[in-house]
């Protein structure tokens, strides 16, 4: 989104290096993410795009041997700084995973978990409202409104993934990270999710990792191409797909390798 013709940068990463033990997985990544746009990260398997995505909400902290260097600045604040509180950070930056992973609880509890731990609802009514709006935003409300108290694991794969998206937006995050959200879904469910992504970018900044070039072209405004841990090229999706500067990018999007 442009304000007065200036691009609004939501996330600004500077010289990000990531190591798994002694092995370096990401080399000097400098990537700016635009606010209220969809940014797609593409590249062959093992190129580091998921690793980079997980840097943005510090999910790499979970992995013992993983070390992150460099700066990632969100709202003028370096999230790799010691003073950064991961709990607050992850409240602001939601995540949707590759495989739908609803909690083995009811649909209602799945959505209400985030608002509960962050103290976002004062009453049962407020919570009901959050659950309803979240599910509506995730285009799942009509399908589940009569069975909110049935287990979320009983839904179909596509519904489960939309439930996970609803869960992620229940805490009103500024950014939503999506790690190949459609790779476990069929084309119809994929189309629904893509439509949803387009809808969600009004309120959220979205970063999506995908293996499908077609999907990147369909949903994103900006694209970054990763290869062997390096960010080879990034820019508007139009430019990357139609007029890439780098030969590797061209080879990859035309299907010559990867």
């Amino acid at each position: 989104m442009k304000k007065n013709g200036v691009k609004m940068i939501k996330i600004n990463s500077k010289n990000v290096d990531v190591y798994y033990g002694k092995k370096q997985a990401l080399f000097n990544i400098n990537l700016d993410i635009e606010e209220n746009q969809v940014t797609a990260l593409i590249g062959p398997s093992g190129c580091g795009k998921s690793t980079f995505l997980r840097c943005l909400n510090r999910m790499n902290d979970v992995i013992d041997i993983c070390r992150v260097k460099g700066q990632i600045i969100i709202n003028d604040f370096d999230i790799n700084d010691k003073s950064c509180d991961v709990v607050r950070l992850r409240e602001k930056i939601g995540m949707v995973f590759q495989k739908p992973n609803p909690f083995p609880k009811t649909i209602y509890e799945n959505i209400s978990y985030g608002p509960t731990i962050h103290g976002m609802a004062q009453s049962k009514n407020e919570m009901d409202e959050i659950v309803e709006t979240s599910l509506k935003k995730a285009a799942l409300w009509e399908e589940v409104k009569d069975r909110l108290h049935e287990p979320g694991t009983g839904l179909s794969g596509g519904q489960q993934q939309r439930l996970c998206i609803a869960r992620a937006i229940s805490v009103k995050p500024e950014v939503i990270l999506m790690d190949e959200p459609c790779s476990a879904l069929d084309p119809i469910a994929t189309a629904q999710i893509e439509e949803l992504i387009d809808e969600l970018k009004k309120d959220h900044t979205i970063i999506i990792v995908t293996h499908s070039m077609a999907q990147a072209a369909r949903v994103s405004q900006n694209t970054g191409f990763f290869h062997l841990g390096e960010l080879i090229e990034h820019g508007s999706t139009d430019k990357i797909f139609k007029n890439p500067e780098n030969k590797k990018t061209q080879d990859y999007i035309t299907g010559r390798f990867g």
Binding site: D64, V87, R90, G94, F103, P104, Y113, I117
Partner: protein
């Protein structure tokens, strides 16, 4: 070439057939052993649930009982019942000489006096009257009546004299011998007399030990498992701890008994023979079992659930307590029950800490001396009296019943509450 292939195929089919046969044979053998074992225990043990009573007319002679006119309740309690008890036994044979009277007395348990007293306390109006009273038969006559006693042995090799047998047969003929459900097997503590021995003290001892064991082992083990699995850094030191927990699970139980003896009794001076010490000793044994079960079920919770919670902004602690631990509970609980069932059947460590002592009181708390069911089996199996043979099997039946119920419970918890990960 083609023929060769066919031969090969036939060979493979035959090999599979043979393998199936071996498998079925193995299962058949296992079942056979189990059935023989259970049949043996039931066939020797079932008679212990019946008890033989002699119905003897007792005259409540106030004079013999040294009772005044209009005795108070306390007077009745303090009265002397021994003489009327002796007299009623002696009266079974009016022509008995002194030796024979002694033999008559030994036809019933030494509780006969108490049984007569109870009768009168229940109904004080019996004074001066005669009433048929049920008296526990001696264990040897009990066995005679159940057909477990070889009557054809020469008299000097028997504990029942010919005279006793003669009187007993007369009573049987008169219908004065009755077999009833042996309630005292469950309500009486242990006794040197087989007819009066019950499992109340050892049963309560087992319950108290298991409770103490549960209260110590469960929280410690679960906390240790959660910490090791979810919070501890993975380094050499935690690896070392892990190896040692696995080793601890393989330590022979008698070693834990020595530990209990050497530390709990010798150093901390805790009371001997008590379920408290027994429970603590057993908890050392159960600890690794529960830790291993709990860690395994924590491991079985998919990492995607942890990631989902963490990504929602839950802290490590919230992720663990809200998601991982509740999801691991069915596995942990069934592991705990199986660990407790193991502890329940444990004998060796309890013998070392003195729970093998003869206890003829029913413990009211973990601080009272007690035996435990497996130790009771051991004590009775060592006893010479014929009456204890059936008690051993009966006690095994109770213990097995207890264990089966616990294991069933573990299975139910596992099947009912375990989440399926699609």
């Amino acid at each position: 070439m083609n023929k060769n292939k066919e031969q090969l195929l036939n060979k493979r089919y035959k090999a599979e057939k043979r393998f199936r046969l071996y498998g079925q044979g193995a299962i058949f053998m296992a079942f056979l052993f189990l059935i023989i074992f259970i049949f043996k225990i039931f066939s020797t043990g079932y008679s212990a649930f019946q008890k033989t009573w002699l119905i003897v007319p007792v005259t409540f002679d106030a004079e013999l009982m040294m009772l005044e006119q209009n005795p108070s309740k306390q007077d009745l309690k303090d009265a002397d019942y021994y003489d009327i008890a002796l007299k009623s036994m002696a009266d079974l044979d009016p022509n008995a000489n002194e030796d024979q009277e002694n033999e008559l007395k030994r036809m019933v348990s030494y509780f006969f006096e108490r049984e007569i007293k109870r009768e009168l306390l229940n109904d004080p109006s019996l004074i001066g009257k005669t009433k048929d009273v049920y008296l526990t038969a001696s264990d040897d006559l009990d066995q005679v009546f159940k057909g477990n006693y070889p009557r054809d042995l020469p008299e000097d090799q028997r504990r029942v004299t010919d005279y006793q047998l003669k009187i007993f047969d007369q009573l049987v003929e008169l219908g004065k011998v009755e077999s009833k459900f042996n309630l005292s097997f469950f309500t009486y503590p242990d006794s040197r007399e087989a007819e009066l021995a019950g499992i109340a003290s050892s049963f309560m001892g087992s319950i108290f030990s298991i409770l103490v064991c549960l209260m110590i082992a469960f929280p410690v083990a679960v906390l240790a498992a959660i910490y090791l699995e979810e919070f501890a850094p993975k380094n050499r030191f935690t690896d070392f701890i892990e190896v040692n927990i696995n080793n601890l699970a393989a330590v022979p139980s008698i070693v834990f008994g020595l530990l209990g003896l050497g530390i709990l009794l010798a150093v901390f001076q805790l009371p001997r023979s008590t379920p408290l010490v027994g429970g603590i000793t057993l908890s050392l044994m159960t600890l690794p079992t529960i830790i291993i079960a709990c860690r395994a079920s924590l491991k079985a919770v998919p990492p995607s659930i942890r990631e989902a919670a963490l990504a929602m902004g839950a802290s490590k602690m919230q992720t663990t307590m809200h998601h991982t631990v509740p999801l691991s509970m069915p596995g942990t609980l069934s592991g705990t029950i199986i660990g407790l069932a193991q502890a329940l059947g444990e004998t060796a460590p309890l013998i070392l800490i003195g729970m093998v002592a003869f206890v003829n009181t029913i413990p009211g708390s973990p601080l009272d001396p007690a035996a435990s069911l497996p130790v009771q089996i051991y004590i009775w199996a060592e006893s010479a009296e014929r009456g204890f043979v059936e008690k051993v099997s009966a006690c095994i039946m109770v213990l097995l019943g207890f264990l089966i119920i616990m294991n069933l419970f573990a299975q139910i918890i596992r099947h009912k509450f375990e989440k399926k990960w699609s």
